[in-house]
């Protein structure tokens, strides 16, 4: 009877197996011998999670390493972090982002059909925001370009413009397009569009362009409200996201953290609204951490979706650093250190695992998972 027990769920698993790729079935995968073409084929928007995580990690290290007046003892320790380490990380992030962007551009040229399919997929489309977010984060984390220079502004415009264009397309689709229903298509990855707005808002506020910042912030906030409610309602059950993409649930943590950072830049200090957003993120983090069963199935085999973990943890740690600057106290510092440690460890672990299994990312068996 036990076999029978297990055989039944096994049958289910094979049917549900998230080996279904992001490409709808009308687009058969043509396997070409040349590995470069293979790479172009296998590369997809979900891989930008890597650059997202690395760029945010660089931003975290920069924030931690920044000298602060009246620094608490902990912070003074952190500011002694070797700047070489930061440089190395920043270069790594830069290199990754550049190569991934180039790959994606090539993919647009040579595999345009696949890009189009990604665009029409309810999960894949959100990862089109990821490169721009990464560029913005990298920009903010660079020590070379100050926010007031023209280069920064040009770069900001170049990154935010595609975000806004995508916003118009996607958000407009939410409330106008007939068969495309938010209630069925909404999934945790949709929060990436909201995150894009918040990151752009923060960068704009740092440049001093307050109105732009407020514009992007309100855009993001409104759609965040709608999305938050929809996602919590889970109208379609757990079916909108394949099991392998469960790590994407961590994006729930990222959105309020980034929102609190954005509001902090706009308002000037970490006021009550930012605190509330930060606490919400903290609660969601604790809630997800207490549910390991949710992620068990997706943790069996390494895939690119695992890179969905470091980014939200890093932005949570970032928000914690800003929180600590406002609320000085041993407990707050302890919290910040804990969160930073968790994010650094997660990123390191993933870098190591990726390096060890680097074949798998572009191997034949890798699951295409922006879907």
């Amino acid at each position: 009877m036990d076999d029978q027990n297990q055989s039944q769920p096994q049958i289910e698993i094979t049917i549900d197996a998230p080996n279904d790729t992001e490409q709808p079935h009308r687009e058969p995968l043509i396997i070409i011998r040349r590995s470069s073409s293979l790479i172009l084929t296998k590369f997809h928007g979900g891989h930008f999670r890597i650059s997202l995580s690395l760029c945010s990690q660089a931003l975290l290290w920069k924030t931690l390493g920044d000298p602060i007046d009246d620094a608490h003892a902990f912070q003074r320790v952190l500011s002694m972090l070797p700047s070489n380490a930061f440089l190395f990380l920043w270069s790594l992030a830069f290199f990754t982002l550049i190569s991934q962007s180039l790959l994606y551009i090539l993919r647009c040229f040579f595999r345009f059909e696949m890009v189009k399919n990604e665009f029409f997929h309810h999960v894949g489309v959100n990862y089109l925001f990821a490169p721009w977010i990464s560029w913005l984060l990298l920009l903010q984390s660079s020590r070379l370009i100050a926010p007031t220079t023209i280069y920064y502004q040009v770069f900001w415009c170049a990154s935010v413009l595609p975000i806004v264009v995508l916003d118009v397309k996607i958000y407009g689709q939410w409330f106008t397009k007939g068969p495309w229903l938010l209630s069925t298509m909404a999934n945790p990855a949709s929060q990436l569009s909201v995150i894009g707005n918040f990151v752009g808002a923060r960068a704009a506020a740092q440049m001093g362009w307050r109105e732009c910042a407020l514009f992007l912030f309100s855009l993001g906030m409104t759609h965040y409200l709608v999305l938050f409610v929809t996602l919590y309602q889970r109208l379609s059950g757990s079916s909108s996201l394949p099991v392998m993409l469960r790590p994407v649930f961590f994006l729930f943590i990222a959105t309020p953290s980034i929102a609190s950072l954005a509001w902090e830049s706009i308002a000037g200090n970490f006021d009550v609204s930012s605190k509330m957003l930060f606490f919400l993120a903290l609660f969601l983090f604790m809630s997800l951490v207490c549910r390991p069963a949710l992620f068990k199935r997706s943790m069996r085999k390494f895939n690119v979706a695992w890179w969905a973990y470091p980014f939200p943890l890093t932005v949570l740690a970032l928000a914690a650093t800003k929180y600590v600057q406002e609320v000085r106290g041993a407990k707050a510092h302890a919290l910040m250190l804990l969160l930073s440690a968790v994010s650094v460890l997660a990123s390191l672990a993933l870098i190591i695992i990726t390096a060890l299994t680097s074949n798998n990312i572009f191997s034949q068996n890798s699951q295409e998972h922006s879907a």
Binding site: Q8, Q233, F249, F252, K275
Partner: protein
């Protein structure tokens, strides 16, 4: 029909049994491969997966169908595949033995339990059913200790006696004399499974999901009054909520400047506060007793989609107690107390909000109901208390969590989604819970910010609007059965009154003062009326604690009985079996198809 994974009937090869039956296998009855290897353990594991829902006092022939019902219906495997994996699986039709041997076999059956040669494979359902019928019916008096067993009907819900019995039976191994204890044990294991949430929706109805549908059956007898503890629901904590919020209101009336013209003394607050303490202590100790003795019942309440929210009620009452602390008793409370009081709320809401977020059975679009406000209000009350104690970050934390989830809940309830099965179709006092969250949130925000600023006012006006829109529909609050949970619905009215008093502190004019008086009077009147009704029900009508059907929901939907009449006489009557299978639900088709392949 419920999925057949639960039930196993293991059939032993026997000439009387048509090969058809032989091939029908159960899905996951562990250890049913081999008759010789059958031990009590296996029976018990199979029992734990199998299930006998019936325990009704229906004594006569329906018993047969009932037994048949349970065994057959549940034994239908979910997929034809199961049928083919049959070398190690066997189907046991309890009814077969019963039919063949007639009534008197019931005792043999129940006695046989596990490990008797061919016909008497431990058929968990059968034995349980027989046992239950034996008890309920009184007809099967050949069972010697039947009188003694009468009280053991509730053993399935008992904590310690059940476990003890199980250990004893395990130790002793299988033997017919043990059948009594084993029978007792059988219902234990059956009810200890987690009930999926849709069972509650299917079997119960009513705005508080506490009335059993006519077609459903219970695992506890419905003709007798159950032990008091089993009838004591968690919603009794609603009384504590109602009374302790009253004490806060009278404290506010006595101490706030705009209400000074009423000349209310603080003694009212003191008296009410002491009463609340006594009430909380009593209710809590009774419920604690219930938890110790009938843990299964508590578990079932925990899985009930509406009752789960009342698990916040004790902690919220304690928070109210702290808020309503008379100045004569103490002026300041230690901050550590706040952390202690908020920890259970925090853990509970981690669980519940996580369930909402991760989808699955208990996602919000399915289970949203006005009682969920109780899980959100706790955050605001905690924030209010923390802010009045002088804490800074903690209250903001809980306020933000409460606000975010309140928004989600509010939108969901307003939507009245079609997937939502728990919303009452007509107005019911539970709707007053809508008023609770915004009024407490406004007070909490005012305390956090220091003044009754715009945010608080917005929340307060929302609360006021909701209150009025319910008050003008008072006509429609009719025709409901009184229940103790109604006490929980009074605290929003009291909360709105307190918020009005605070608001009139800020905006002092005749209108606000009049409103505070009116709302306080309304709250007091409601509580008084409720008190009278409660006393009436308790001492005159004596039905304050009716049989709590919400916890006695069976695991599986019962099969309509009339189909069963033909099946009484024919283990060889395959046609009828097929006939039955046709009606057995969606699984029947599969089974039918698979049966057609069978060689019989």
């Amino acid at each position: 029909m419920e999925n057949g994974t639960h039930l196993g009937s293991a059939w032993q090869d026997s000439p009387e049994v048509p090969s058809l039956i032989k091939h029908i296998s159960s899905n996951d009855v562990a250890g049913f491969d081999d008759m010789t290897s059958l031990t009590k353990d296996q029976c018990q594991t199979s029992e734990s997966e199998s299930h006998s829902p019936s325990n009704d006092g229906d004594e006569t022939e329906p018993i047969y169908h009932r037994q048949r019902v349970h065994s057959v219906s549940i034994s239908m495997p979910q997929s034809p595949v199961a049928v083919h994996l049959q070398n190690t699986r066997r189907v046991l039709f309890s009814s077969d033995t019963i039919f063949e041997d007639g009534i008197p076999d019931a005792s043999v059956v129940s006695g046989a339990a596990c490990g008797e040669p061919p016909k008497h494979h431990s058929q968990p359902i059968r034995t349980a059913a027989a046992y239950n019928e034996a008890i309920g019916g009184g007809q099967f008096s050949y069972h010697q200790s039947i009188r003694r067993l009468k009280d053991k009907r509730y053993d399935s819900f008992k904590t310690w006696s059940g476990r003890l019995e199980r250990q004893i039976t395990l130790l002793r191994g299988k033997s017919p004399p043990e059948s009594k204890t084993e029978d007792e044990k059988v219902p234990n294991r059956e009810v200890e499974k987690n009930l999926p949430v849709h069972r509650y929706f299917d079997a119960l109805e009513g705005p508080e999901l506490d009335t059993l549908k006519a077609s459903e059956e219970m695992v506890l007898p419905d003709d007798k009054t159950w032990p008091f503890l089993l009838r004591y629901p968690i919603s009794s904590f609603g009384i504590c909520l109602g009374v302790s919020s009253q004490s806060i209101m009278w404290k506010a009336l006595a101490t706030s400047a705009p209400a000074k013209f009423l000349h209310i003394s603080l003694r009212v607050n003191l008296v009410l506060w002491c009463i609340s303490i006594a009430l909380i202590a009593t209710v809590a100790s009774i419920y604690l007793l219930k938890m110790v003795i009938y843990f299964e019942a508590v578990r079932r309440e925990y899985y009930h989609p509406i009752r789960i929210n009342f698990f916040f009620a004790p902690w919220i009452s304690l928070l109210f107690l702290a808020l309503g602390l008379p100045p004569s008793v103490a002026n300041n409370l230690p901050p550590a107390l706040w952390y202690v009081l908020m920890t259970p709320i925090f853990c509970l809401e981690l669980k519940i909000y996580g369930q909402w977020m991760s989808g699955g059975q208990r996602r919000l679009s399915k289970v949203a109901n006005p009682s969920n406000h109780l899980s959100v209000v706790g955050n605001f009350v905690g924030a209010l208390l923390g802010a009045s104690m002088g804490l800074k970050e903690g209250p903001i934390f809980f306020f933000s969590v409460g606000l975010a989830h309140y928004m989600v809940l509010f939108v969901t309830l307003y939507q009245r989604l079609p997937t939502n099965e728990t919303l009452p179709k007509e107005l019911h006092p539970v709707f007053f819970l809508f008023v609770a969250a915004p009024s407490v949130a406004s007070m909490a925000w005012a305390k956090i910010q220091g003044t009754f600023d715009y945010g608080s006012r917005i929340a307060y006006f929302i609360a006021l609007f909701l209150y009025f829109s319910l008050a003008v529909r008072l006509n429609f609050f009719r025709g409901f059965k009184f229940s103790l949970a109604w006490w929980a619905y009074t605290f929003p009215m009291t909360g709105a009154a307190i918020a009005t008093i605070r608001y009139s502190n800020e905006v002092r004019n005749v209108i606000t003062q009049a409103m505070s008086v009116i709302l306080s009077a309304a709250a007091t009147l409601t509580v008084t009326g409720l008190l009278i009704t409660t006393i009436l029900h308790a001492f005159v009508l004596r039905d304050l604690f009716p049989n709590d059907m919400a916890i006695a929901v069976s695991d599986q939907k019962p099969i309509p009985q009339k189909k069963w009449f033909h099946l009484r006489h024919g283990s060889s009557d395959s046609k009828d079996i097929e006939q039955y299978l046709k009606f057995a639900g969606s699984d029947g088709k599969d089974l039918e198809a698979s049966l057609k392949h069978q060689n019989y």
